[in-house]
Amino acid sequence: MFNILIVALLQGFEYGLVTLGVMLSFRVIRFPDLTIEGSFPLGGAITASMIAKGVQPIFGVGVSLVAGFAAGVLTGILNTKFKISKLLSGLLVMTILFTVNLRIMGRSNIPLLYYQTILTPIEKIIPRSNLPLILFFFLVILLSKWLVDQFLSTELGLALRATGDNEQMIKSLGVDTDSTNILGLGMANALIALSGSLVTQDQGFADIGMGVGVMVTGLAAMIIGETLLRPKNMGWLSTAMIVGTIVYYFVISLGLRLGLAPTDLKLATGLMVALALCAPALRDRYGISRILKEAKKRALVKGRSLG
């Protein structure tokens, strides 16, 4: 059990960056962005191939951030400037990135086991212990959350949030919503590429298929976090993203421990998200409140016929 918790914390902090990115696109600017599935492995591909070429790992992380930002910007430009639908814009960039990632890596998998990564010195602090690593990733996600929170409360951040909330209104207040959409997507994908970069260094390899399902995982984590914490403001929302990711990985690890086959993970995640998304409709149709309402109506009718 303790082991599962450790794994859940580690993965929760690593992938929490993805969920923060998903929050920026899906919640803040309300842009259902598919670029994610390409920008996550983009961060991994860049970092792995740079490290394998002998470049300082920290540069790999930096370049990943910038490249992720650029990927998001590209999706934003396709949507805002060329009027391609949001879903299709993301899908196009994701497809393009598949080739880009392969080109960057030169093959479909780069192992990093014998290379120094930015995590190597941290892992050495206490031999055979995950603690320093967990602490490191905790600091990374905490810093990211703080930066995102701070940004979203600035003048520009408010404009970004209003772009998702009421685009017409913020436009009439003189804000170019094309730019705010593009900026939001850039930031979201920068965070996601950063996650890809860190995950690659932790797991010791980059793989062309590492992005498959990342978006749905992020969505699942987001929905879990929102359901558990019911956030009323931005600070709580971003906290909910991190908590949701940890809980998600805890459930997944538990499922694996209890005999869920790793190959069935995506099915389980997909069903989890689908169920969560069905919940409001199901509640309306079969939920307690509806049953109560109908009972009340019947009682009223009866009362009237009695009176």
Binding site: S153, E155, R161, M169, S172
Partner: protein, 258 residues
Amino acid sequence: MLELEGVTKIFNRGSIDEKVALQHVNLTVEKGEFITIIGSNGAGKTTLLNAITGSVFVDDGNVVIDGLDVTHLSEFKRGRLIGRVFQNPLMGTASEMTIEENLSMALLRGKPRGLHKGVTKNHRNIYRPILQTLGLGLEDRLTDRVGLLSGGQRQSLAILMATLSLPKILLLDEHAASLDPKTAMVVMDLTERVIKENGLTTLMVTHNMDQAIRYGDRLIMMHEGKIILDVSGEEKSKLTIPEVIQRFEIVDEKLLLV
């Protein structure tokens, strides 16, 4: 302050659905003037406002605001010149954001937005007395989400937001129409007070004849994309509802003859 010269807008030009929304409309609005606009459905009132804000681009003619030709300027660039309140209270405010955040966004109308804190103590000190004048108790609810407010409260907030940074022109698009009569009165009184206090140049579209006559110092009636009646000053103050309706009917009869 505002000049429309030969403004024409035709939707679906060349198709069977062709609709002439504005036909060579000429209109000069002086600084500080408060104009009410009436007309039947499809008369072109909302298109007129949209042409001013840039929500639609005109096919012909010019739109000049405060000496600046904005005919080809995009909507968000005109945003710094124009405040607008819509019929739907949901459209003028961001519901997921707090009252103070909404006001802060309005305070920065048309200004560059940077990485300064969006809401500061200074801001709150500005907002509280302004909200107090509404008498709705909103000054104690600065950090409440706007989605929690009633339609009338939201519309009052929208009026504050539209006028907070003193736009060159204020456009009101049937902004009291979706409210119950009592709330509509309160909102209209607030509107008039804000306009008078700040000397705002205003165009107000309304379906309510009584409002159109009672408020403002000039009345315009539109029909089929044209201005068919334009009265101001003493003539307007003497105008009565039956008279206005009679003018409407004359137009309608013409319509029947055609």
